[in-house]
Symmetry: none
Subunit: 413 residues, 2 copies
């Protein structure tokens, strides 16, 4: 079933509001087996809104609108759609009562314009909104379904769960299951190249790749009448993906690499400590976002200056003098000494030149050394990253997590 | 001039990617005096993409597309648009050379599909992309301008600044100047309420407020024929804003609070060290994003465990036993001892319960103590934040920067 999402609101067109609603609804619709073919955003303008809805009706079976249901003059989604379908607006006493109760509870006098929210196109189904004042509306006409939801995300999401998901389950006829494989240390074009045969003949399941900084996600989606058939189909393709990408696959989920590594540390009961120079605490703070990580993350040292490297990590002045702060030797001392200081199972170190200044011909911006110390073995890797300061820092953090994972799984050469 | 943004990519329609590009471009276009009337998102499907672009050409003068310029089979934005305009594709040797150099630098072999990026519609202008492999393209035909940008936000934003903004300045006929005032420690509704009189009668200049976590930005935008007239107009309104918000205004720019504080530290030649527990290095890593910060940021200690607090910061076991790790006393010892250890001009400490677990009735999730030690004075503040683990961490970091700024400007009570 083809779907279109129509977002209504000038605040989206001026860039004042980030449209998170379409991402939420798109994901929910996709999971439930609906094909979202278009997102359209239009301002609070009746003429343009009308033309957008009429266009949507020519190409989509299910249209979900968000926004334009509130009490103010520029909220006109339901009036515009009622006009398209030739439906009159009628006031619903139960909504009036609800509005009055809402304002009473807050001890605020209800302004007259709020009553606009009590009108519903005749023949439309009112969808209650327990988190706000503007109810939603569903209209079914011929083969088309239009669902109108309010714009504030927490109201919209609540109503989706309460009212829209049950409607979707009635509308759909097939079951859809997706599986995810997240890969690191490999580029998207290489991934695609390696599964071009599957992508080319794709029909059911479909295969898609998504690139994030340092990660590539493969999504495998199949549909069918029952989960057994679908899973058998997915198993066949999963086998191929595992064969071709092996240990590049760091998780069979949508978890990012940092979260995967954090969970792995906790699962194995391993402790970790970090010594960061050019990433300035980024690696530690990424781990710190994971609930429960305090069981594994014991300490982090941000040793930006040479003095801090010597004072906190006992990096030798001689090493800094002879090889420089950005060197294999310094990275090695940083993680090996941190092992002694922290007593943690795994320690990692970062030293590099994030830029934009500070580079030399021998040590250009983007040069980074990452060290990992685990199971009595130290691994130092040298990288040369391109991009802005922030990108260099993010790519470095990604490699730290990659190397920690390899150390946990004992895959370092 | 009417604009439309067309986002190309199935990952947007499946809800796998949040479309931040349209918000960025919408804001930039609005600031520059362009009216964005529609956003349309379509998948990697040539037929539907073609119909969307053709529709856009009937109603918009400037169309900016994002996505679909990469090396893979499903990247087909430029081919589809070339077809609409009856333009042939031609390979540009300078792009081939750039691609080869890009892969050589990385020591990676270039897969054949990357060469697709070297083709440009004949007559189109190539827009260089220093941050990635896919160049952008601009086509002008009759009164219409189409600009195609890559989908990855950091590439797109960089190209916007380098190539698109200058084009916009040529296209528009009036001069537009914006000024920004960024405020902290005040809520958006309070800000709006305080300038409602200006917002209500707004015409030229226009006033808008934008809320970010812990920050509110006021934008004042005026247009006119020459910069002198515009600036005189803006001066009048700026005076009112400064009168009403005083020291809540931490910068007359779009810089966020962390960047403002980082610049202030560098400007004043002050050194800083951080001791973080529940933020896990977030404060340090925010500072570390700022170019040149190594002159000020000397060290950071992520003392997640009690042992680390004792070992690295000499927090007394008695203090931890008696008052707990999340207490005013611990926050105080953390930043005062860090002052001794680091010798920095300013030290700050954070200890709290970011959640979702670990809360008690006496010390609930969201309880955070922030300490700042500067000019021989220690200030400890207690906060109770609501929201997810990540939100609590971000709000805490915001308050650390707020308190460091107050300490630098000697505003602590």
């Amino acid at each position: 079933m083809n779907c279109e999402l129509v977002s209504v609101g000038t605040e989206l067109l001026t860039g004042d509001t980030l449209n998170t609603n379409v991402m939420f609804l798109s994901k929910e619709l996709s999971i439930n087996g609906f094909s979202v073919l278009y997102h359209t955003t239009v301002g609070d303008n009746p003429g343009r809104l009308k033309s957008v809805i009429m266009r949507a009706l020519t190409r989509s079976d299910l249209i979900i609108t968000t926004g334009g249901l509130g009490p103010t003059q520029d909220d006109l989604t339901k009036e515009t759609i009622a006009e398209i379908f030739g439906m009159e607006m009628e006031q619903r006493p139960e909504i009036v009562a609800k509005l009055k109760a809402f304002f009473d509870r807050r001890g605020v006098e209800m302004t007259e314009n709020n009553l606009r929210q009590s009108y519903v196109p005749k023949g439309g189904v009112m969808l209650p909104n327990p988190r706000g004042t503007a109810p939603g509306i569903m209209i079914k006409k011929d083969d088309k379904t239009i669902i109108m939801l309010p714009g504030p995300p927490h109201e919209m999401m609540g109503m989706y769960e309460d009212c829209v998901e049950p409607v979707l389950h009635q509308l759909k006829n097939q079951l859809v299951i997706s599986r995810y494989y997240n890969l690191s240390d490999i580029g998207e074009s290489t991934v695609e190249d390696s599964i071009m045969d599957i992508i080319d003949r794709q029909d059911n399941p479909t295969v898609a790749t998504y690139a994030k900084l340092g990660e590539v996600m493969i999504r495998l989606t199949a549909n069918g009448d029952d989960s057994e058939t679908i899973n058998a189909l997915l198993d066949r393709y999963e086998k191929v993906i595992i064969e071709r990408f092996g240990s590049h696959i760091f998780t069979h989920s949508q978890d990012s690499l940092d979260v995967t590594v954090g969970k792995l540390l906790m699962e194995k009961g391993l402790t970790v400590a970090l010594a960061e120079s050019c990433t300035g605490g980024l690696v530690a703070s990424k781990l710190a976002e994971i609930p429960g990580i305090s069981a594994s993350l014991k300490m982090g040292l941000v040793t930006y200056s040479n003095e801090a490297k010597m004072q906190l990590l006992n990096v030798r002045a001689e090493t800094l003098d002879r090889y420089g702060a950005v060197s294999e030797q310094t990275a090695r001392e940083m993680c090996e000494h941190l092992k002694e200081i922290s007593g943690c199972d795994i320690t990692a170190s970062v030293t590099g030149i994030a830029g934009p200044d500070g580079g030399t011909p021998e040590k250009p911006v983007g040069l980074v050394y990452v060290g990992v110390c685990a199971k009595g073995k130290t691994t130092i890797k040298k990288y040369l990253f391109e991009g802005s300061r922030k990108i260099v820092q993010l790519r470095t953090a990604n490699k730290v997590f990659h190397l920690i994972r390899e150390a946990i799984l004992d895959k370092t050469e």
